[in-house]
C-alpha cells in the first residue's frame, strides 16, 4: 500500500499544497510544496478537470444527481479525488492496493484543512486574496503553516509506509 503524492487545488485552479513521497519506505522522504512540481500540478489539474467536466455533462440531469469522478486509474497509479462544493480538490496518487481513499481525503478536509486554514483567523482562507493575477491557475501561493503540515504528516505517515 503506497501513497505517491498528495495535492490540494482551490477554486482558482491553483495548486495550493502538494506533498510528494519519494521513498515508499520512508514517510519523511520527498518534498513539500516543491516548485518543481508546478508543471505536474498543472497537468494533474487538467486531467481531473477534463474528466470531471465530461462526466458531469454525461450524467443524467433529470435525476437531479450530478455525477462526479472519484478515482482515475492509469497503468502506473490511481488518482483519488474528493471535490468540495467550495471548489477545493483533495487529491491522492496511490498504487492499486486500495480501491478508495475517500475517508482519508474527507478526514484531511474536516480535521486538518478546516482546522488550520478555515478556523485559523491569522491567515487567509483564499490564497489569491482577490488578486486577479493569481487566479485561473496562475497563483503560486501555498499553504505553508507548520501546524497544517505537521498534522498532515502525522496523519498520512502511517498510511504512506
Amino acid at each position: 500500500m503506497t501513497i505517491y503524492s498528495f495535492w490540494i487545488f482551490d477554486k482558482h485552479c491553483n495548486c495550493i499544497f502538494n506533498r510528494e513521497w519519494t521513498l515508499s519506505s520512508d514517510s519523511s522522504s520527498g518534498t513539500t510544496n516543491s516548485k518543481q512540481n508546478s508543471e505536474t500540478a498543472k497537468l494533474l489539474y487538467g486531467l481531473i478537470y477534463s474528466l470531471r467536466n465530461i462526466t458531469q455533462k454525461l450524467s443524467n440531469t433529470e435525476s437531479g444527481n450530478k455525477n462526479d469522478i472519484r478515482t482515475i486509474s492509469t497503468g502506473k497509479y490511481r488518482v483519488h479525488t474528493y471535490c468540495t462544493a467550495t471548489g477545493l480538490w483533495f487529491v491522492l496518487l496511490t498504487d492499486f492496493f486500495q480501491q478508495s481513499y475517500l475517508q482519508v481525503l474527507q478526514h484531511i478536509y474536516s480535521h486538518i484543512y478546516v482546522k488550520y486554514v478555515s478556523h485559523n483567523l491569522l491567515l487567509p482562507y483564499d490564497l489569491t486574496e482577490n488578486q486577479p493575477i493569481l487566479m485561473r491557475g496562475q497563483g503560486t501561493r501555498k499553504i505553508t503553516n507548520r501546524h497544517f503540515i505537521a498534522a498532515l504528516e502525522s496523519f498520512l505517515s502511517p498510511i504512506v509506509e
Partner: protein, 272 residues
C-alpha cells in the same frame, strides 16, 4: 450511580440537588458551541473595522466644526447620502464589505496606538457586558453549587475559574494561584479561541513566536473584560480591580499542534 427518586416535600441531598440542576441545565435550549466561538472570535476583527469607521467619523465631525460654511454643505451632502441609502435599502443592495478577518487582525498590530487603544477598549467593553450578564444568569438561577457569602473574593475567583470558564470556553481554568492578599493568577494552558491559530514561518525563527503572540493578543481582551465584568457585578467595581493578560509557556506534555503558548490572567484587587 443511583440516587433515590426525588419526592416532593423531601429535603434534597446535595447529590440530588446537583442532579436536579444538571437535568435543568440539560433541558435548557442549546446552540452549537462552534457558532458561539466563531461569533466571539469575529468580534476581534469587527472591533478593528469599527474603530476605523468611528475614527474617520470623529475626524469629520471635528473638521466640520472648524468650518461653519462647510456645515451647510455637509447637511446637503448628508441628505443626498441618506436618500441614496434609502434607495439602496429598498433595492437590497449588499452593503460595502469590510476587509477579510485576517487582514483586520493584522491591522490591529500595525495601526497607530490610539486606534489600538480604541480596539482594546471596545473588546473589553463587550467582554464586561458578557461577564456581568453571565453572572446574573448563573448566580440567580438558583444553582445549588454556587453560593456567595460576604463577597469572598476567593470564592468568586473559583466561580470564574470553574463556572464562567466552563460556560464560555468549554473547560475550566487549569490553575489558580493567589497570595491571599488580592493578587490572583489564572492559567489557561489551552485557551480555546486561539487554539488553531498559526502563521506561516519556520519554528526555528525566533520572531515567528513573537508574531503569533502579538497577533493573538487582542483575543485575550474579551476574557479580561469578562473577568472584570463578573467581579463588578459581584461587588468589586472597576476602580478596585486591575486585570492583565499575557502569554506563558505551557507545561510539558501538552499537544504540539495547538497554539504554542498558554495564557495567564493577572488580577489585582485593591484593599484586600
Amino acid at each position: 450511580m443511583s440516587t433515590p427518586p426525588i419526592q416532593t416535600g423531601q429535603v434534597l441531598t446535595s447529590q440530588q440537588k446537583a442532579q436536579q440542576f444538571k437535568l435543568f441545565e440539560d433541558s435548557l435550549p442549546k446552540v452549537n458551541q462552534l457558532a458561539f466561538q466563531l461569533l466571539l472570535n469575529e468580534v476581534v476583527p469587527l472591533s478593528m473595522a469599527v474603530e476605523e469607521k468611528v475614527f474617520d467619523d470623529k475626524i469629520q465631525v471635528n473638521e466640520s466644526e472648524d468650518q461653519t460654511n462647510q456645515k451647510a454643505e455637509d447637511v446637503d451632502n448628508s441628505d443626498a447620502s441618506n436618500i441614496t441609502k434609502d434607495i439602496e435599502d429598498k433595492l437590497h443592495i449588499t452593503p460595502e464589505l469590510d476587509l477579510p478577518s485576517h487582514v483586520l487582525i493584522h491591522q490591529i498590530s500595525t495601526t497607530n496606538a490610539e486606534k489600538r487603544e480604541g480596539v482594546i477598549k471596545r473588546l473589553q467593553s463587550i467582554g464586561f457586558n458578557i461577564g456581568s450578564k453571565l453572572t446574573e444568569l448563573l448566580v440567580f438561577k438558583n444553582n445549588p453549587n454556587i453560593r456567595f457569602k460576604d463577597a469572598e473574593v476567593l470564592l468568586i475567583m473559583k466561580f470564574i475559574c470553574r463556572d464562567v470558564w466552563k460556560q464560555i470556553y468549554g473547560k475550566q481554568i487549569d490553575n489558580l494561584k493567589t497570595n491571599h492578599r488580592g493578587t490572583f493568577y489564572l492559567f489557561d494552558y489551552d485557551y480555546r479561541p486561539i487554539r488553531n491559530f498559526v502563521v506561516d514561518g519556520d519554528i526555528s525563527d525566533p520572531s515567528l513566536l513573537e508574531k503569533e503572540t502579538s497577533l493573538a493578543q487582542p483575543f485575550l481582551e474579551i476574557p479580561i473584560g469578562i473577568i472584570t465584568g463578573v467581579l463588578s457585578s459581584l461587588g468589586f467595581k472597576s476602580e478596585v480591580v486591575a486585570c492583565k493578560a499575557s502569554f506563558v509557556d505551557k507545561p510539558d506534555g501538552t499537544s504540539k499542534l495547538n497554539f504554542p503558548k498558554g495564557v495567564s490572567f493577572h488580577i489585582q484587587i485593591v484593599n484586600q
